[in-house]
Assembly symmetry: C2
DNA sequence: TATGATTAGTCAGTTTCTTGAGTATCATGC
DNA sequence: GCATGATACTCAAGAAACTGACTAATCATA
């Protein structure tokens, strides 16, 4: 039951529709969780049923109507309770790392192609997160913003996302370089 | 079906029992995947049924008997196929980051406690991975080992694990510092 | 004027992961 | 001499996540 709390946390700062939430949780801005639209709509229904969020219908004439959700008092209390509960340690779960684990038994060129693709993806995320941080910070310095600003939660999680993707990028580049060097060494042997 | 390939990759370098695998995939050395014993035993059974690994009974007199598994030719081919298939981008999924996302609405002291705990955990992992890397590398330099050594797959994945935990550690410490400073600023206001 | 993309969602089915309990033997420490 | 923990594994049930298909309107573009 952690998606539950991720949704609550996302709805704290803005009133969002299921559709908007889905965009945020899809590959993109979701630097602190990931989920598919189906999961989110289901979770929103459960959260509303349990009184942790409340939705209001917004009638639109040019677009289909939508429902916007906000966190209730009960929802905030639930988040507070969640925050105090023990967190399980996060661990990496990544196809690409599994592939590299098998590096000694598998075609290096294939691996390099995969790593290159991932590096590009990571770079795009780094740029995206960089931009998001700039926007949140406005014209203030990071130190000033974090000391005195409002809404630092999203900023801090975005910082983690940025560092994570930088880590991905560095590792991909390093690994590509290693594999290339070994290929070159093998060719001249 | 990625646990499947994670198990195959883990069995490439050593012949392991389900129990040993479980230890590796539990909180500990599993720097490239995570799974519980029940999942692993089930996956091993499936893999053997599909002919991707083969097990042999080892009779022990002081301990319960065990079955050791190795990857078959078919298993290696399956890994090769997997390596060439598209990898889905990995994303973070972490309770603690959800909690920090809600930082503006939640008790800072609770958050700091959680972050401190996680920082200690991350530090332990950093130490563990550092030691593992030393052992794999032996007396060679990292450059030399990665250029000419054998079994660099596990080394490279361990490097990613190390960087990831360093990232966790840095972020926890930074976030704790920010929360403390804001607490102090609030107290004097 | 089709074609595809975007907004806004729903439904069904399957796989994967987690929780919890249980079995059995042997070694170690108090 | 009895509790604790390690080795080695199994079974069942439930929660969470993923796959894939589907409705229905509007807007952009070629």
């Amino acid at each position: 039951m952690a998606l539950r709390h991720a949704v609550l946390a996302a709805l704290l700062d803005e009133e969002l529709s299921g559709y908007q939430l889905a965009k945020a949780f899809d590959l993109g801005v979701a630097n602190f969780w990931h989920a598919l639209p189906q999961q989110l709509y289901a979770e929103l229904a459960r959260l509303e049923k349990d009184g942790l969020i409340s939705g209001r219908e917004v009638v639109q004439d040019t677009r289909p109507n939508k429902r916007l959700f906000i966190v209730t008092e009960a929802g905030l209390a639930e988040l507070e309770r969640f925050t105090a509960s023990a967190a399980k340690p996060s661990s990496i779960r990544d196809d690409l790392i599994v592939k590299v684990q098998a590096a000694d038994h598998v075609d290096p060129a294939t691996l390099i192609a995969q790593l290159t693709e991932r590096a590009a993806f990571a770079q795009a995320k780094v740029d995206l997160f960089g931009g998001l941080l700039d926007r949140m910070r406005g014209d203030r310095s990071e130190e000033d913003f974090l000391r005195n600003g409002e809404g630092i939660g999203p900023y801090l999680t975005c910082l983690r996302g940025l560092a994570f993707e930088r880590g991905n990028l560095d590792w991909c580049e390093r690994t590509i370089a290693v594999l290339r060097e070994r290929e070159a060494a093998r060719a001249t042997r």
